[in-house]
């Protein structure tokens, strides 16, 4: 393609974005836009899938049948979210199995929050409330993302997420109202998940190298720090309401700005976990790799069966 032709295509592309016209799979798009989306959407898909592991850990040990049915439904939803998103990456020409292999080789990342262990039942509460809560903050603006298939997947995901957060909050609320031991369990879960939840929004704006371009392309609508602030502002009063304490001695409400000010995030910990040195990184990726390997014969058998059925149909 000639240089000036590309410049015109790029101009038309940006004009569409500026006018809030969605980009669809067959439309022309710059390579960098395509690559950014494939990276972001596949990482998002991996997060949904890996995110099933810490919660799946508690399905058989849920305290009663209602909690068990709810947790099962939630984890099943996360599988669905992963599938919507893998489909969206395929509309960009990415190969599904390649993106999954990138996860298994450690090349692709996923949300660092899922590299923390789930030590008690209260962690199911903390995850639903805080982790799904933070995910909702991130995902709601993505419903207006410039890329059509991603935006549509996010609309479905967001519709399903709100029950996830409510069931988590309900677990925390119930524990917080329970015996002193139960309340201590809830507080302990909040203590362990609060900071990793804040880290879910990604590095500070000054450190975030992709933000400016992603905002220009309307893949992203708010910066990491804006979303993090929004999360803190809505979550702190929820903790207070159920009598739990946010583990941040520097947390205070600023009357002038109407926002909470919070303490310094341990970015060293964040980067350590992103780089693979979190408490469960190895366990999570090993579990995914094993699932793919152990499922191989099933996939092969299904393929063989489908071929046999087709032959039989043709013969009859």
């Amino acid at each position: 393609m000639k240089e000036e032709d590309r410049a015109i295509l790029e101009q038309n592309f940006q004009a569409k974005i500026d006018n809030d016209i969605r980009i669809e799979p067959n439309d022309w798009m710059p390579d960098a836009y395509r690559e950014t989306l494939i990276r972001q959407i596949s990482q998002h898909a991996h997060s949904e899938i890996v995110g099933m592991l810490p919660e799946g850990n508690w399905i058989t040990r849920a305290p009663n049948l209602r909690r068990k049915a709810v947790l099962l439904a939630k984890v099943q939803d996360e599988a669905g979210h992963g599938l919507y998103l893998y489909s969206a990456t395929e509309t960009l020409g990415a190969d599904r199995e390649d993106t999954i292999d990138d996860l298994h080789s450690g090349k692709a990342k996923y949300s660092s929050i899922f590299n923390y262990p789930t030590l008690s039942w209260a962690d199911m509460g903390a995850i639903g409330w805080l982790v799904d809560g933070a995910a909702i903050m991130n995902q709601v603006p993505l419903c207006r993302c410039s890329y059509g298939p991603y935006a549509r997947a996010m609309v479905r995901v967001c519709k399903e997420e709100s029950f996830h957060q409510r069931q988590g909050f309900e677990i925390m609320m119930t524990l917080a109202k329970g015996s002193p031991e139960q309340k201590a369990m809830a507080q302990d879960a909040l203590n362990r998940f609060w900071w990793p939840a804040l880290m879910m929004f990604g590095p500070n704006d000054a450190e975030s190298k992709h933000t400016a371009q992603s905002m220009k392309w309307k893949i992203k609508r708010h910066t990491n720090d804006e979303l993090r602030q929004q999360f803190v502002d809505v979550t702190v009063p929820q903790a207070e309401l159920i009598g739990l304490t946010v583990p941040d001695p520097d947390l205070k409400f600023n009357e002038q700005t109407g926002h909470y000010e919070y303490g310094e995030i341990n970015w060293d910990e964040f980067w350590q976990v992103v780089k693979g040195n979190g408490p469960c990184n190895k366990e999570r990726v090993d579990a995914r790799r094993k699932a793919k390997e152990d499922g191989l014969w099933v996939r092969e058998a299904a393929t063989a069966y489908a071929a046999k059925k087709k032959l039989r149909k043709q013969a009859s």
């Binding site: 190969d95 599904r96 399903e160 299904a302 069966y305």
Partner: protein, 95 residues
Amino acid sequence: MSNKEWPLWEVFIRSKQGLNHKHVGSLRAADEEMAIDNARDVYTRRSEGISIWVVLSSNVFASDPSEAPELYEPSDSKIYRHPTFYDVPDEIQHM
């Protein structure tokens, strides 16, 4: 590890009796039966549908977006195809 993938299917759901099937997304499955089973699990967990169609994605043929002006502009200019193009006297109540 074998990376041979199951084929890709496009999924269409009728949300209720009397409405069209509408495209909702895609999935991978070994055959049409599995595609319908998977579509049920992936796309109708909250009573979103009462009927499912699956079509092999390779059987979908799409118009070229770069030809959109030639394809659709001619109908944009034919405003006389719309009832609002015509003057109807005020005395006439229903037409």
